[in-house]
Symmetry: C2
Subunit: 246 residues, 2 copies
Amino acid sequence: MRNIKLTLEYDGRRYQGWQKLGDSDKTIQEKIESILEKMTEEKIEIIGSGRTDAGAHARGQVANFKTESAMSLSDMHGYLNRYLPKDVAVKEIAEVPERFHSRYNAKSKQYSYYVWNDKVRSVFNHHHSYYHPMKLDLEKMQEACEKLVGTHDFLGFSSLRKSKKSTVRTIDSIAIEEENGMLKFTFVGEGFLYNMVRILVGTLLEIGDGTLDISVIDEVFDTKVRKTAGITVPAQGLFLDEVTYD
Amino acid sequence: MRNIKLTLEYDGRRYQGWQKLGDSDKTIQEKIESILEKMTEEKIEIIGSGRTDAGAHARGQVANFKTESAMSLSDMHGYLNRYLPKDVAVKEIAEVPERFHSRYNAKSKQYSYYVWNDKVRSVFNHHHSYYHPMKLDLEKMQEACEKLVGTHDFLGFSSLRKSKKSTVRTIDSIAIEEENGMLKFTFVGEGFLYNMVRILVGTLLEIGDGTLDISVIDEVFDTKVRKTAGITVPAQGLFLDEVTYD
């Protein structure tokens, strides 16, 4: 059995997220599986590094699948990019050891989130960013980022109700960059809880525009109460940039 | 009579270009005029700095219109951005002297053209760039740009058959920048002939990938024969960035 690793780019706008829902074509996973099945004439199951939300995008989602096909990697690469829809592409393809597992072996992930912060809405970026016109105090937001980085129980910054599994996570870094009205938030960490990046961005924006005080962060860490934190910003601004393996 | 100057941004994908065609809603000019007429309850004609092609975009198209409305500029700005569709926005609004004319007074224009130059197509930029996967010799293309800059008869680099008016134009500069697989061509000049930017980009790409020799430029200047030059790249990669006035 060969084990093939794909690095994928997709525009999530038309999809119900990564994860298979049933027998539909509305998720990225199903879309890719159906083309792999035509290509290999085998039943294929692809394993993603993790789910991405309905409407969220990826520049570097990683997935792997097993096959007995003898097709060359470069032929597979050509086949997939020819038959995949315009909003999904295979950036890289590689053969990996049989034990490689996209989800279990992922060491770290990078997400970015885009916020258009200008008096006038953007005609070009409205499908790939969230529009927040209020003036933002970037210095205060940077200060808030420093409080978030590190190892904490992020339950209150997630959409999980309760969890039997640990909700302690480590964020390695959060960066905020601004260019011509577009704010880019970049998060790097070993893993993120459900909706965690989107709630962290919502909270940072509300700290930045004065709706919330910076003390909200310690409060959410203490109480673990979701509703104390900021809004969940929409998926359209979210990109899975990169998944790192050893 | 007040004379109002608008700086406009639009995603041209859904439109038949700037210029009014008749009684339809398919051009940017008609879209904006119909909203201005509701706003002012007057018959409005807007004058653009020039046409943009069907499918081409703008970051800084300039237009002006005359009105007797007493509405404040900031109310007009708010009204327009509320009622314009998501793919058209007014970036700036200003009151200008009555003799100001967007087309006659334009001193210089900047256009940019985007080319996605990578082995794998881009899922995010396919509506706003042209995909040219072949390897390009950027140095040779820069050399070609130096030959194009300056004052020449550009008839052979346009879609005009013949012209009673002069087809001599001056290009002040052409820049080619590359970032993560995206090439950006920037043209600055006092004015450009019909399809001239798109044919120049097509010619530069064909010089870059080896289809055409660099000598084609002098040949087209000499013979003025359109078919000797490169292809007309599609409008989807073209942006009118800026119009400059004294």
